[in-house]
């Protein structure tokens, strides 16, 4: 039973004595307090209800005073009856009209939501455009497959070569915030940081990614080393 039903029972002479209502009072302090507040009025309006029934007292027939009068009907009362019938008939139609209006509103809301979603998706920056792939072949997948390449130097070379592509044009922070689909690895530098520690040497391994020894890329890579974490003190890389 909810509080709404409890109020219905509370204001009903028979319902106010029901066990279900008493049970509800045990679990609902708000309704219990309401009942205590209204008790004087409820008691006053419902006490000795049957004895107070006018019809029981006067019987089924009109009183002697009323019986002596002729039944009357006025134009005004007839008009009241007509108006009441019209209004009630109109209100009986309301639920159907309300359902139709509600369906229309829901359709409108759905259209607005879909349009908003499309606009939001169009504002999400494309990941591919922020991190252009190098002209050469990416060795990440290949290195993962070949266990023989997993020496410290190789890993460093691999990571630094990845950095050429993936941090050369870091995405602005505010662009990321507009995206609905934020990457867990939003800061690319963090996961690259260990590979720029001092114990790793410069990229001079011939097994490094194809084309990474080109001077332009190495210059870019050195610039990245400085930008990612200057305290790491990454060594100058030479061709």
């Amino acid at each position: 039973m909810n509080c709404d039903t409890a109020f219905d029972l509370m204001t009903d002479a028979a319902g106010s004595r029901s066990g279900a209502l008493a049970q509800h009072f045990e679990t609902c302090p708000r309704c219990r307090q309401m009942q205590e507040t209204l008790a004087p009025a409820l008691e006053f309006l419902t006490q000795d209800e049957r004895a107070d029934d006018f019809s029981a007292r006067s019987g089924e027939s009109p009183s002697s005073e009323a019986a002596g009068r002729q039944p009357i009907i006025t134009i005004e009362s007839l008009k009241i009856a007509h108006q009441a019938a019209s209004r009630l008939a109109a209100q009986a139609e309301l639920p159907r009209a309300r359902r139709q209006r509600l369906a229309g509103q829901l359709t409108g809301y759905a259209a607005v939501f879909a349009a908003g979603l499309l606009v939001a998706l169009s504002l999400v920056p494309e990941r591919g455009s922020e991190k252009p792939m190098p002209t050469g072949q990416c060795t990440r997948q290949e290195a993962a497959r070949d266990d023989s390449l997993r020496s410290a130097d190789t890993i460093q070379a691999l990571a630094q070569s990845c950095a050429v592509c993936h941090t050369a044009t870091p995405a602005p922070v505010h662009d990321k915030q507009t995206s609905f689909f934020r990457s867990e690895r939003s800061n690319t530098r963090e996961w690259l940081a260990p590979y720029f520690r001092e114990e790793f040497g410069p990229v001079d391994d011939p097994r490094c990614v194809a084309g990474s020894k080109r001077s332009a890329e190495l210059t870019a890579l050195n610039a990245i080393c400085q930008r990612v974490q200057p305290s790491f003190g990454a060594k100058e890389m030479t061709a």
Binding site: A13, R57, P62, A66, L78, A81, A85
Partner: protein, 192 residues
């Protein structure tokens, strides 16, 4: 055969006008209770209830099974009571609760013993108290309470009869009860 209101009204519309008497017997008591509470005059209450049924019968062609007959007669009654009350305001003192109820007692058919006479005096007194208390409330709250407690209407029916929403009908009953309870507490059962 126990016909419901819609079936009876459809037959009345079709020409079996004598069936309308069933509806009169069905609703006369609750209508009288509310009318008497609102007008504080038994004779006027009977007049209004009689006029309500006559109006409903005369306008039977406008009845539509899409709405409930009882809601219709309650709506008519409330409007006629309001009209009657306005007339009474124009001509105050024509009727008073005490005198009309004393007259009413003379038409009572049970044998009058000390017990029943005392009981009726108490009833009249209490009826007068209820009437006095309800006059302290705004009319819409008092009407909502009358329909709920004396007419036995559901909140949805009160809403239709008073042309309001169901939640508004509940709120009116609730506010009326709160105000009435405050008044009873403050006066400790002593009413004007």
């Amino acid at each position: 055969m126990d016909l419901d209101d819609v079936q009876i009204m459809c037959r009345v519309q079709a020409g079996q006008v004598e069936l309308f008497d069933v509806l009169v017997r069905r609703y006369r008591g609750p209508l009288l209770n509310v009318a008497w509470s609102k007008l504080a005059d038994a004779a006027w209450a009977e007049d209004v209830v009689q006029e309500t049924f006559l109006a409903a019968f005369a306008a039977r062609a406008t009845y539509n099974p899409r709405f409930a007959f009882r809601t219709w007669v309650w709506t008519i009654l409330l409007n006629l009571c309001r009209r009657q009350w306005q007339r009474r305001q124009v001509r105050p003192g024509e009727h008073s609760l005490g005198t009309s109820l004393s007259a009413e007692l003379t038409g009572y058919c049970e044998p009058v013993t000390h017990e029943t006479a005392l009981g009726h005096i108490l009833q009249i007194e209490r009826r007068e108290q209820v009437h006095q208390l309800l006059t302290h409330l705004p009319e819409v709250q008092a009407d909502a309470l009358r329909l709920r407690f004396f007419g036995g209407l559901q909140f949805s029916e009160i809403a239709l009869a008073m042309d309001s929403s169901v939640s508004a009908a509940k709120q009116r009953v609730k506010n009326g009860l709160v105000a009435l309870a405050d008044y009873v507490r403050q006066n400790g059962g002593d009413f004007p």
